[in-house]
């Protein structure tokens, strides 16, 4: 009987299922040599990280590269992850900085000022009206300045709290709230909301 059970028990003991609820356990497992645990973290956050990069960079190819870079840096620097910190804050922070580096390189390359006000764009009204509501809103977000796009993405689209956004962006919480307020004001103007 024991001989019959042995192979199945061995399969169970070697099967790697990472169903840990908290990210900290997955980080600990990855640090203990079970690299596949990091794969579970990738599954949890790749979409959110990609969206943050996409909204910040406004370019899907650049966003894809930035998301890859963020996860690569996180994997290589997993030992520097502070126990007790939130993995989501950490990975978003790495991704945001990767995006900032890319934007800075672009700015240096193009030598152009990034406007602090929303980009009016060429004939927006005619274009935007043809799109459905979600696409209109996304198009409007894309026309906001970078700092506003990022806070809107993190607060509204990803549901982060002010405190976490402030930590990721390395900004005071008051500044995050101000950015959100101004971002919404500009969005209203862009989509022609009278509220």
């Amino acid at each position: 009987m024991a001989a019959l059970l042995a192979p199945s028990l061995a399969r169970v003991s070697t099967a790697r299922t990472f169903t840990a609820d908290d990210d900290a356990s997955l980080v600990a497992l990855a640090l203990a040599g079970q690299a596949e645990a990091f794969g579970t973290l990738v599954e949890r956050y790749d979409r959110a990280v990609y969206n943050l990069c996409l909204r910040t960079l406004r370019d899907s190819e650049e966003a894809k590269d930035a998301a890859q870079e963020a996860f690569f840096k996180a994997f290589r620097g997993l030992r520097t992850f502070r126990p007790g910190a939130k993995f989501s804050t950490w990975i978003f922070s790495i991704a945001y900085h990767a995006c900032c580096d890319r934007l800075n390189r672009k700015r240096r390359f193009s030598d152009a000022e990034i406007p602090d006000r929303a980009d009016p764009g060429p004939g927006p009204a005619a274009q935007v009206e043809q799109l459905d509501d979600a696409s209109r809103l996304r198009a409007a977000i894309d026309r906001l300045p970078e700092k506003y796009r990022t806070v809107i993405t993190m607060y509204h689209l990803q549901g982060h709290q002010y405190e976490e956004i402030a930590r990721v962006l390395d900004l005071p919480m008051g500044t995050v709230k101000t950015h959100l307020f101004r971002a919404k004001e500009q969005l209203r103007k862009l989509i022609g909301d009278p509220a």
Partner: protein, 121 residues
């Protein structure tokens, strides 16, 4: 309590965009599935030996720093070695010994196979 207006509600309802095909695979390929650098596998004896050597070194250093009598004893032992190594008779003896070892190691000596005959009954 947060007050949400229409723009907030519209933004909250906006779904995240799907990442491009293959993003997850490409991330996994450069992280989890990337070949890991080979680890140096030290045996138990090597690790234990290195540990003992380090412990001995630490013990010696501590004693030399803390205990002047110990330092003096070490100095005496080192002095004896120095005296021995500066003694011409000792140096000649050492040279002869090493030469003998070297010469013997260079001799083409083959192990001799001894045939064991089965005893006749």
């Amino acid at each position: 309590m947060e007050q949400y207006d229409d723009i907030d509600r519209a933004l909250f309802a906006l779904p995240l965009e799907a990442p491009p095909q293959g993003l997850r695979d490409s991330i996994l390929a450069i992280t989890v599935r990337a070949p890991q650098p080979e680890r140096v596998n030290a045996g138990v004896f090597e690790v234990a030996g290195a540990g003992v050597a380090l412990a001995l070194l630490a013990w010696l250093t501590l004693n030399i720093v803390v205990n002047p009598a110990f330092a003096a004893a070490i100095n005496r032992v080192l002095g004896m070695f120095e005296q021995a190594l500066t003694n011409p008779v000792m140096l000649v003896s050492l040279a002869l010994g090493f030469s003998a070892v070297f010469i013997v190691s260079m001799l083409p000596l083959e192990p001799v196979r001894v045939r064991v005959r089965a005893g006749r009954s």
